[in-house]
């Protein structure tokens, strides 16, 4: 078979295998090597909730999709050009994600009778059974070859078999003309204390590369030249890491120590883990006994004068509801990060959704409006977390930042920002006052109260969940209550004077305005591009600020004949918009499958309007 090198602008590759096969690492290494090579990338980890579901079953299949390209890679790609399946279950679960005619690399060794049976195949010919004859199937005895490669290594059989993902990675590096040295450098660092593993992993990686080169079963290899990116220093970053770093940046800017009280929960845990690493920045992390303690310790820390943060996912946000009300009525600065996942209840913990919006907006007793923001992409989490902290601190209130499993776990290359250009953060801290301190007295612009830290002489005061008068005394006076409710709402509404305007991508007026929020940004952006390329008269507006909405929202909506609101829930944002802007008619595109949009779904929905 003749070997061709195909130059292409983009390619999508999906690594799949048993949860124990190391596919997340394989995908991450491939993505990192591609990013370091200069490609744009977007990744999508798709893994089961079980740490080790029964081996070989469809339930235990773990996947990692990487989209690499020269320009404008905004999504992990709908369907893949190359599918790697380390076992029959992986093939069974993922063949539907392969483009027609895609290459499918299979570990021949795992396709024995037992493996096929566990995956639920009825015959011993999975290709026939799944109607994959028109695909380019590459059968490679990956397990056998890995064993052969390491037979003299001195590693035990288990450790040898575990290295088969490196063999697969080597094969893919050949297919995509990736240099090996980025991954070799990673191995050297990772196993610095176990030099034997550096050598064995490198050997398997190279043997995989050479094997792919030698077998000639791989007809085409791809060359994706480095992307033409904006000049600057770049790094890879995932959303949870970016969130943690954004909070640390806010701590540095404000000069306030960071305090994070949290309870481990998927997929938000990584933020707590990341903050726990960075004690050098003075960050204090308390792994609490439960979600409620997570937020309550943070409320206490906010009262004592720290930049307080609590992080969670769906069910954890439910548990924090009452304390969010406490933070709101005591008017203390607090950032609540909710990395949304599929619900209700435990739902599908490892899958992505945007189904916590209504809870973020309304899920508390009493009149309790809270500022709600959402991050668009993994790297955008940095900026979002920074601004969530800035608004919380300067306006003396809790702020909910919504991210999603999809962007929390997903990664992308990021042009490192110049943090010295980020704005200052100036919370209204008070050190002394004339006369008696009134804790609920407001500044006339932001409508925020002032922050007197315990330890400051002369400003002793009491706060609490009971309604208060301006001087801090408990009050059940009807007029005072009405006034305080209005004051707290007014303060949130006034944030609209401080947030950026809504921007429209594509046509600034026209037939259809595509509207989204949060982690669907990449898919909506790509769909809009495609529609514009098709000559459609469309624009795209993405909301980073949900409560309050940007001040020019009405102006933007007015300029389009139709509006379609796309979100990964049954219509939570669209119904919110309908309440605030009843003068417009909103169409909607919704998906609640625990999966991100695919671009085609959006394009089709807009074309069908």
């Amino acid at each position: 078979m003749e070997h061709k090198i195909i130059d292409t602008k983009e390619v999508v590759i999906r690594f799949t295998g048993d949860s124990g096969d190391g596919m997340q690492l394989t995908g991450t290494l491939f993505a990192d090597a591609s990013a370091l090579y200069g490609n744009e990338i977007s990744t999508f980890p798709d893994y089961p909730a079980e740490i080790r579901a029964p081996q070989g079953t469809v339930a235990g299949v773990s996947g990692f999709q990487v989209h690499i390209g020269q320009t404008e890679v905004k999504t992990p790609g709908d369907f893949c050009d190359v599918l790697v399946a380390m076992n029959p279950a992986a093939l069974k679960a993922n063949a539907k994600w392969a483009k027609p005619g895609a290459s499918i690399i299979l570990d021949e060794d795992s396709f024995d009778e037992k493996g096929l049976e566990k995956a639920g195949f009825k015959t011993n010919d999975p290709i026939e059974e799944m109607n994959l004859k028109d695909y380019h199937i590459v059968w490679a005895p990956i397990t056998t070859l890995t064993k052969e490669s390491l037979k003299d290594s001195g590693l035990d059989n288990k450790a040898i078999v575990r290295s088969k993902n490196m063999f697969t990675l080597g094969m893919c590096y050949f297919m995509f003309n990736r240099p090996l040295h980025f991954t070799e450098a990673y191995l050297e660092k990772k196993f610095a204390k176990k030099p034997q593993l550096i050598e064995t992993n490198k050997k398997v990686l190279n043997d995989g590369y050479n094997y792919a080169h030698n077998i000639h079963a791989i007809p085409n290899t791809y060359r994706i030249e480095p992307a033409a990116q904006e000049p600057g220093i770049y790094r890879n970053i995932n959303g949870n890491q970016a969130t943690a770093w954004g909070l640390l940046a806010a701590s540095e800017k404000s000069g306030l120590p960071l305090f994070c009280g949290s309870y481990p929960i998927t997929p938000a845990t990584v933020i707590l883990e990341e903050l726990a690493i960075h004690k050098a920045f003075g960050a204090k992390t308390v792994q609490c006994e439960d979600e409620i303690a997570g937020i309550c310790t943070s409320v206490g820390a906010a009262y004592a004068g720290n930049l307080a943060v609590t992080t969670t996912s769906g069910p954890g946000l439910s548990l924090k509801s009452e304390a969010m009300g406490l933070a709101m009525i005591t008017e203390l600065p607090l950032v609540i990060v909710d990395v949304q996942r599929s619900g209700p209840s435990t739902g599908i913990p490892t899958k992505t959704e945007q189904t916590d919006l209504a809870q973020a907006l309304y899920g508390r007793n009493g009149e309790c409006p809270i500022m709600v923001m959402a991050a668009r992409t993994p790297s955008h989490c940095f900026e979002s977390a920074f601004y969530a902290a800035k608004y919380a601190l300067e306006h003396m209130m809790p702020v909910i930042l919504l991210t999603e499993g999809f962007i929390g776990n997903g990664s992308e290359p990021w042009k490192i920002p110049d943090v010295s250009k980020y704005p200052a953060i100036n919370p209204p801290i008070i050190n002394k006052c004339e006369g008696k301190f009134k804790p609920y007295e407001r500044d006339l612009e932001r409508w925020a109260r002032r922050w007197a830290h315990p330890g400051t002489p002369g400003l002793e005061h009491r706060v609490g969940g009971l309604e208060k008068a301006e001087n801090g005394s408990v009050s059940s006076d009807p007029e005072n209550h009405a006034l305080m409710v209005a004051n707290r709402a007014e303060k949130v509404a006034r944030v609209a004077n401080y947030i950026p305007d809504l921007k429209v991508m594509g046509n600034q007026e026209g037939d259809v305005l595509i509207v989204g929020w949060g982690g669907t940004y990449g898919h909506l952006y790509t769909a809009t591009k495609q529609l514009l390329d098709e000559g459609k008269n469309v624009g795209f507006a993405h909301f980073d600020y949900i409560n309050p909405l940007p001040k020019n929202t009405t102006e933007v909506f007015k300029k389009f004949k139709k509006i379609i609101v796309c979100e990964l829930n049954s219509g939570q944002f669209v119904n919110y918009l309908r309440g605030i802007h009843p003068q417009f008619t909103f169409g909607q595109l919704n998906k609640v499958q625990g999966q991100p949009f695919i671009v085609k779904e959006i394009v089709d929905a807009v074309n069908a309007l």
């Binding site: 990192d32 990013a35 370091l36 200069g38 980025f182 990116q229 000049p231 600057g232 220093i233 770049y234 790094r235 890879n236 770093w245 640390l248 940046a249 540095e252 120590p257 305090f259 009280g261 004690k279 050098a280 920045f281 003075g282 960050a283 204090k284 308390v286 609490c288 006994e289 409620i292 303690a293 309550c296 310790t297 943070s298 409320v299 206490g300 820390a301 906010a302 009262y303 004592a304 004068g305 307080a308 009452e322 406490l326 005591t330 042009k415 490192i416 943090v419 010295s420 315990p454 330890g455 400051t456 002489p457 002793e460 009491r462 706060v463 609490g464 969940g465 009971l466 005394s473 408990v474």
Partner: protein, 339 residues
């Protein structure tokens, strides 16, 4: 002393029922605070009073200090945040048997386990007062209340036993009307590094009047309670003729002068040794009529505190860290330049 108790009194009207035991605890705290500030060398503004929900949780409003009246059960978590955020503060907590042992049980035991330097005054009146009379986790079995009209079928907690089981380093018990003893306990609790639990047996005149009466009644108190002080023999009784001895692995009440028992045979209270935990536990569990109810500081052992260790670790990591600014952090690890 630089302060008098008046300095700690707020201008708010105290709204507890006339005759409620909480008044006496407030009086005790107001009396103790000048000495606490003196002993800890702190100022009034360094005191923070935190509470949850319940009658006792109104406490912060009556103190002219920093105060946070929070939500039901969560005071311990709020206090934890305050103390970890700023360990220089002396953090006090007012809580009840329902607030700390029912809805807030989880935070309570974990604060104790971590040994955070908090001073927790638990007002134990064995009833839900603010919700107007339902049984609590410390109510006696059989109690008839609005939610147990045929008698409660639940066994109560003995708070001291729970505290020691959660590896508590400080546990004291007192009665609302024992103002002097309360003050003594509060000062000792303030000096103790770690979670200090002070169980105050208070009377609820409205919903559970006389719940502690069988041993707290003035006329019988000396015979039915024992005040423990570190280094002193465990002697009690109106005539100071009763004492506690170890009989095998059990405590036993003896009378000095009877059966050849002399004062030398009586146990000497050692609150400070960690290895006395079994005896501390037995003392905390003593119940009338088999035993006198133990008052005073039952356990006061040293251990490092959580808040101290959080800051110690931050300092250690800071010292060794190569990265100390966000800019350095962003440029750490694998980066590449696009020209």
């Amino acid at each position: 002393m630089k302060y008098t108790s008046q300095d700690f009194k707020s201008d708010q009207e105290v709204k507890w029922c006339p005759g409620c035991g909480d008044h006496a605890i407030l009086a005790s705290v107001l009396k103790a605070m000048p000495e606490v500030c003196e002993e800890l060398n702190i100022n009034k503004e360094d005191l923070v009073f935190v509470s949850g929900i319940g009658c006792s949780s109104r406490f912060p409003y009556y103190m002219n200090t920093y105060g946070f009246h929070s939500i039901h059960g969560r005071a311990t978590a709020i206090s934890t945040g305050v103390k970890v955020a700023n360990p220089k503060l002396s953090v006090w907590q007012a809580t009840g048997d329902g607030d700390s042992l029912a809805i807030g049980g989880n935070h309570f035991i974990h604060a104790i386990r971590r040994n955070i330097d908090l001073n927790i005054i638990m007002f134990n009146n064995r009833i839900y007062g603010l919700t107007k009379g339902q049984y609590s986790p410390t109510s006696k079995k059989g109690i008839v209340t609005k939610t147990s009209p045929y008698g409660s079928i639940e066994e109560p907690f003995t708070p001291g036993n729970l505290v020691l089981g959660a590896r508590g380093t400080f546990f004291a018990r007192s009665l609302d009307s024992e103002l002097k003893l309360n003050q003594e306990i509060m000062v000792q609790a303030a000096k103790h590094k770690g979670t200090s639990i002070m169980e105050m047996l208070v009377n609820c005149v409205i919903f559970n009047d006389g719940t502690h009466q069988e041993f707290a009644e003035r006329s019988v108190r000396a015979d039915r309670t024992i005040v423990l002080r570190h280094g002193e023999p465990m002697i009690f009784g109106a005539n100071r003729d009763k004492g506690l001895v170890l009989d095998g692995l059990q405590l036993k009440v003896v009378t000095i002068g009877e059966n050849g028992v002399t004062e030398k045979d009586i146990l000497v209270h050692d609150a400070k040794s960690d290895d006395k935990l079994p005896i501390h536990t037995m003392l905390a569990n003593m119940k009338y009529p088999d035993f006198p109810v133990a008052l005073g500081v039952i356990r006061d052992v040293e251990d490092s505190t959580y808040d101290e260790n959080v800051h110690k670790q931050v300092a250690e990591v800071k010292e060794k860290a190569k990265i100390s600014t966000i800019d350095q952090l962003l440029h750490s690890g694998a980066t590449w330049e696009v020209k």
